[in-house]
């Protein structure tokens, strides 16, 4: 099986069957990471470039490990959007990389839509590793993988996403992904951090986390950026934590066996209390582990789809 597309730009551009294909492929790749020799020869001789215009440790490392476990050659390029100031545009940078015969470019960019613009211009496959507040598809897929692994299904589950929805690409990709898979998605945060017309993406909006968590099978917390308080979006960390943070008391409102998720990096004691982050329901580290398998699946299926695997 393979993905019949050149690029993976967002969950918005995937069919449900394609999502299922990625998840089932990831299931078989997960075993590779448990071997003594954590490598399969699938992509020997392929060149993949991690092109990161925004600082990232977790996602970059996860993609790098995924590529290496598939035996591809991967190089990391960390650039900054200031290369525009130096006179080189995004497209020029990418075309230069492609001129060195890359097969696939994994892009992280602070501006929404940048990978889409790249994908239109390049022959290489493009994987969106997070663009602005738009999408972070591999995160949503690894979250889906983790939920399926733990709870056996996604269809019909109540899933609450709590925090800064407005600025979160993780929230958008998860809303799209979970909806496609038949879950009931609830979002929650102060109205300043809920973007306009989000209901049209098929979610229910809550202002009280107690209401959003009530009977939830999964609670996903989002990182709150302290800088946002400067633009008047909330008064401060203390109040945010009190009204929107996830503590044990709020966890108890959820269903027995609830999964607590967080895309990381977490602000301990801000959006999530340490007892919850390290508690028995937390699957935060499973998410990280599964990220490698899911990214192996994405890379493999895209390469296979183009007949290069």
């Amino acid at each position: 099986m393979a993905l019949k597309k050149k690029d993976l730009l967002g969950i918005d551009y995937l069919e449900r069957a394609e999502i299922e294909e990625i998840i089932s492929t990831a299931e078989s790749f997960k075993e590779v990471s448990t071997r003594d020799i954590k490598k399969v020869p699938a992509l020997r001789g392929r060149t993949i470039v991690n092109l990161f215009f925004e600082p990232s440790t977790r996602t970059r490392t996860s993609f790098e490990l995924a590529a290496k476990r598939l035996s591809a050659d991967i190089i990391n390029i960390s650039s900054s959007t200031s290369s525009v100031v130096k006179g080189e545009t995004l497209l020029d940078t990418a075309r230069n990389i492609e001129a060195m015969s890359s097969d696939m470019i994994i892009v992280r960019h602070s501006m929404s839509g940048a990978p889409i613009i790249l994908a239109r211009a390049l022959k290489s496959s493009v994987i969106n590793a997070g663009d602005g507040a738009h999408e972070h598809p591999s995160q949503a897929l690894l979250d889906l993988f983790t939920i399926k692994e733990r709870l056996g299904k996604v269809e019909g589950l109540n899933i609450a996403i709590i925090g800064d929805i407005a600025h979160s690409r993780v929230a958008r990709s998860n809303i799209l992904c979970l909806n496609k898979m038949g879950a009931n998605v609830r979002i929650c945060g102060p109205a300043t951090l809920i973007p306009a017309d989000i209901e049209k993406m098929g979610v229910k909006v809550y202002f009280r986390p107690e209401d959003a968590i009530d009977g939830a099978d999964v609670v996903m917390m989002l990182r709150i950026q302290v800088e946002r308080q400067k633009s008047g979006l909330f008064p401060g960390v203390r109040e945010y934590s009190r009204f929107f943070g996830l503590n044990l008391e709020r966890v108890r409102l959820a269903k027995e066996g609830v999964l607590i998720m967080h895309p990381g990096p977490i602000n301990r004691g801000v959006e999530i209390s340490p007892e919850v982050a390290d508690g028995p329901y937390s699957v935060i580290l499973d998410q990280v582990t599964n990220g490698v398998a899911v990214r192996m699946a994405i890379i493999y299926l895209l390469a296979e789809g183009r007949g290069t695997a």
């Binding site: 995004l90 929404s112 839509g113 663009d131 306009a196």
Partner: protein
């Protein structure tokens, strides 16, 4: 007699003419039909099947000279204007230097005369450098030919400054054109705020950013008893505010641009930077309200807001691309769709390109009566053409309408009695 336009459907909105006539031109003027049938020596244009109307007026465009000649210059912009059926265009002052003084205004009109494609009436800046802090020399610029005043591209943020601008411009019988945008609400925004911006994760510009300033400026126009023109209306709320102001007898006129009655923010779904414009493309409900406003006369004028940019500037991340659509050459064809679909009668549509902009600027309405200047457009209402960037004469190939088939295009433009050749 030098030129005869024979057999066309003459639509002259200023005096209600709509019928088949011949137009006779001597030099740069329209003249009485001669008593004899002898027309020897005169060039004859066969206008059968064509509409003959006064040359169009675009009261809002950007010609980029001085300072940004790589985007457009006055010669290329006015040639594009002529190709679009315009014989008069008003260029906004956000050049470098800003048109905030007599020398810049005179430079612009001088360049336009040299090019000779159409007339250019500059819009002067309201404040020095369009910085919003000190009034520019509006009196002297008016003397130098500036027909109206605006800090277009930037709003006049300080309400007292806007009040003074309205009062001071009134002293010289000039209109203030307001770019309505509350910058605190629009800061960092790149498209309309709504379902699409949420989906795309792009920073939105809410309709309220425009509407709060429309409301403010209407109040100030009432206070000052001055003539106010609202530029590029894009929201249903603005249409409603202007409708109410007009009912209250406030001296306010308004314009919209073809993209606001043709496109919506749905088009941005592909991160197409060629649809990035300020104010942004709004929702379908807004688009319908704009058409309603055009129909009931709330919106007086169709202007282009022609904003040419170089391809290298548009082919970047959505956040980094400049705002603006190259619009001089497609405006009439886009507007013709409103007439073809029966939404707005042809004569009324042409009024919004001719009589109404003139009135909004306090100018004599153009007409095709004997004695009037021979500024005329011939329109072929039936011809169909596909918009492609490479057919544009403007240096700005940044059309938002590439691939669209439009029906009804200018067939010829006569400026001061001369047929303009716009082939390159």
């Amino acid at each position: 007699m030098t030129l005869i336009i024979k057999g066309g459907r003459v639509i002259d909105p200023a005096n209600g003419t709509d019928g088949i006539r011949d137009i006779y031109i001597e030099g740069d003027k329209i003249i009485q039909p001669p008593k004899t049938k002898k027309t020897s020596g005169a060039e004859v244009i066969d206008a059968r099947g064509l509409i003959v109307a006064p040359g169009l007026i675009d009261m809002h465009c950007h010609l980029r000279e001085p300072g940004f000649e790589y985007k457009e210059d006055i010669a290329s912009g006015t040639r594009a204007a002529a190709a679009g059926g315009f014989t008069t265009v008003c260029c906004m002052p956000n050049t470098n230097p800003v048109n905030d003084s007599r020398p810049v205004a005179e430079f612009i009109t001088g360049q336009a005369k040299k090019a000779g494609f159409c007339k250019v009436l500059p819009i002067g800046a309201i404040t020095k450098g369009s910085m919003g802090t000190e009034l520019a020399e509006i009196g002297e610029m008016a003397e130098a030919g500036c027909i109206g005043f605006s800090d277009d591209g930037k709003p006049v943020v300080n309400a007292e400054m806007m009040r003074h601008a309205l009062e001071y411009a009134k002293t010289f019988d000039r209109t203030i054109i307001s770019h309505c945008e509350e910058p605190a609400l629009s800061a960092g925004g790149v498209m309309n705020e709504g379902a699409v911006s949420t989906r795309l994760g792009l920073r939105g510009i809410p309709a309220a950013a425009e509407e709060v300033m429309v409301a403010r400026d209407i109040s100030l126009a009432r206070l000052a008893g001055a003539r106010l023109h609202i530029a590029h209306v894009s929201t249903a709320g603005s249409v409603e505010l202007i409708r109410r102001a007009k009912a209250d007898g406030i001296n306010v006129t308004a314009e919209t641009c073809p993209h606001y009655f043709t496109l919506t923010d749905e088009g941005v779904m592909s991160y197409n930077t060629y649809l990035k414009v300020n104010p942004p493309l709004r929702t379908e409900a807004d688009r319908k309200a704009i058409i309603e406003g055009l129909k009931d006369g709330t919106i007086d004028v169709i202007a282009t807001d022609h904003a040419p940019h170089a391809a290298s500037e548009k082919d970047v991340e959505f956040d980094l691309a400049p705002f603006g659509i190259s619009g001089l050459e497609t405006a009439l064809a886009l507007a013709m769709a409103l007439a073809h679909s029966g939404l707005i009668p042809m004569a009324e549509l042409l009024r919004k390109f001719t009589v109404n902009p003139a009135m909004a600027l306090g100018m004599a309405p153009p007409s095709l009566l004997p004695g009037a200047p021979a500024d005329i457009v011939l329109i072929d209402p039936e011809t169909e053409k596909t918009v492609r960037p490479e057919i544009l004469l403007s240096k700005g190939k940044n059309t938002a309408f590439s691939g669209l088939v439009l029906k009804g295009w200018p067939a010829a433009t006569i400026n001061e009695g001369k047929k303009i050749e716009f082939k390159l």
